[in-house]
Amino acid sequence: MALAPAITDLEQLKEHPAIARLLAWNAASVEGAKFDRGETSILVNRSALRGACVLLRDHPSCAFNFLSDVTCVDWYPSEPRFEVIYQLLSIPKRERVRLKVRLEGGSPVVESVTSVWPAANYFEREVFDLFGVRFTGHPYLRRLLMPEDWEGHPLRKDYPVEGYR
């Protein structure tokens, strides 16, 4: 099973129901898309994230009613530094799609999706705790895993793996 090259051309991918929906809703919301190893990722504009999530959850052709996961990748030292990743699952359609948002390293802020999927509560708190990404509109944005008085965000790439800081 040789790896097929990733498709990153939006033109070729616009047949995908989730991408087609998003483009029909707001063409500026989709900044890019990728189909790689059988998985679809959509890069969404930061300001359109919550709207896109509501659309993907409620539209019958997508029905992504289940939020599997929210996580983050730190691309330090390149900018935009953070990539917040939302893994969506459609239980009725048995399909997955991945949404991504890119955030600047200076003040990484994105709108919370807890109002769309309450499941995002702990996931976003974890991302806040370990990466320092802030989610506006989150009901209780506090550290989840680390002690409350901890300094720094351990999963950032400029945080050492071992030793004292």
Binding site: D36, R37, G38, D69, A119, R143, L144, L145, L155, E162
Partner: protein
């Protein structure tokens, strides 16, 4: 984790209520979970789980290891089903590499994975019943669990932290007579499940403690990210093994038990039925076990056989290279989800083209399931919190990572 905060996290709203601290070392929390409860007499007004006591930074550690060195770390996340973690991670990296796994390795993986599910459910059943007050079931469950741990020891050399699945296949061929031992176990096991059910299913005390307790609707369960038996106990018929098959699960016939009541008893019934279904899969895997290789044909990724290393120069070189500098994985990212005994376990692995993963994230089924706890308990009785915690089958190692 709020244990260093001097003031209570919950402010008592009125004079009527009081804050009660449960844990972190409460016997029913299966590890170190702290639950802060605001109670009005016997009724719960608010409940707030406080987690993080077992946080060891596994995700950070993974970024400093070679791909193959992460496998033993994955065992330690959910220590009741180490092989499910191994499987999920191995599948994710194999997807990144584009590796094809030989059928015998796939079937061995399914076989071991289902034994792990039985093992995990037995621990759950025993401790859950113990929490609610039924001592005997615990002893019966651990009797069968011991047999499974012996099987694990036979095949991998380890009782619990097996690390048996490797990237590209499985670590060792099963020893002589292993399949006979498994067959003997699988033949005996349905009668054991009958025994547990005799003790619990029709037991009036058990039913009073579990029926109608800690209910959650299907809509709430989906919205809160619950998966596995916690979701199926609320009537949502979804199982990743059947609906989005991986590792050759499409070759097996099994039912997905679903209950509609959404209470502790419904989740109990789902898991007990799953014990029987897993046993069926084990038997099918034994009957149809294909012959052939147990590792993929990818010398740059999979360690060579010991015998070849002593006779072939190439094999020795590859072995040395894999051990000392790992193997490079093409750039990309994958999210691989498998059905763990607790629900959807997912590994999100990002590669930047080097021999070390750029990012490994584990989607812990328990972390999401834990969010259903307030929905289940608020407005209910204090004594039922223990039943509710037991029924979502938490493993703190997985929640905190």
């Amino acid at each position: 984790m709020a244990h260093l905060t001097p003031t209570p996290v919950l402010e008592p709203g009125q004079d009527r209520t009081m804050i009660l601290n449960m844990g972190p070392q409460h016997p029913s929390t299966h590890g170190v979970l702290r639950v802060i409860l605001e109670i009005d007499g016997e009724n719960i007004v608010r409940i707030m789980p406080d987690i993080g006591y077992l946080h060891t930074g596994i995700e950070k550690t993974c970024e400093a290891k070679f791909y193959q060195q992460v496998v033993p770390l994955t065992d330690r996340i959910d220590y009741l089903c180490p092989l499910t973690n191994n499987l999920c991670y191995a599948l994710a990296v194999e997807k990144l590499l584009g590796l094809e796994i030989p059928p015998r390795a796939q079937w061995l993986r399914v076989l071991m994975n289902e034994l792990t599910r039985i093992n995990s459910h037995l621990v759950w059943l025993g401790t859950h019943a113990l929490d609610i007050g039924a001592m005997t079931v615990f002893l019966y469950c651990f009797r069968e669990r011991e047999d499974i741990l012996r099987l694990f020891e036979a095949i991998s050399g380890q009782r619990m932290m097996t690390s048996y699945f490797r990237i590209g296949g499985v670590a060792l061929p099963p020893p002589l007579g292993f399949f006979d031992q498994v067959r003997k176990f699988a033949k005996r096991f349905p009668a054991c499940v009958d025994e547990y059910e005799n003790l619990l299913t029709g037991n009036p005390i058990w039913m009073m403690r579990t029926k109608g307790v800690a209910t959650i609707t299907a809509e709430d369960a989906i919205a809160l990210g619950a998966s596995g038996p916690t979701l199926r106990g609320s009537g949502v018929d979804f199982d990743l093994r059947r609906d989005m098959p991986y590792s050759g699960y499409e070759n097996f016939k099994f039912n997905v038990p679903v209950s509609n009541d959404g209470d502790v008893f419904a989740r109990y019934m789902c898991r007990v039925q799953e014990l029987r279904e897993s046993n069926r899969i084990v038997q099918q895997a034994l009957d149809g076990m294909p012959e052939g290789a147990i590792k993929a044909d990818a010398p740059k990724v999979v360690l060579p056989d010991r015998e070849k290393m002593k006779t072939q120069m190439e094999a020795l070189i590859y072995h040395f290279k894999i051990i000392t500098e790992g193997f490079a994985v093409p750039e990309g990212e994958v999210y691989q989800a498998v059905e763990s005994p607790r629900g959807e376990m997912g590994y999100y692995v990002v590669s930047d083209g080097t021999a070390k993963p750029y990012r490994v994230h584990m989607r812990a089924a328990c972390l999401a399931n834990m969010q259903t706890l307030p929905k289940m308990c608020e407005g209910k009785l204090l004594a039922d919190v223990v039943a509710a915690i037991g029924s979502i089958d938490i493993v703190l190692g997985e929640i905190d990572r």
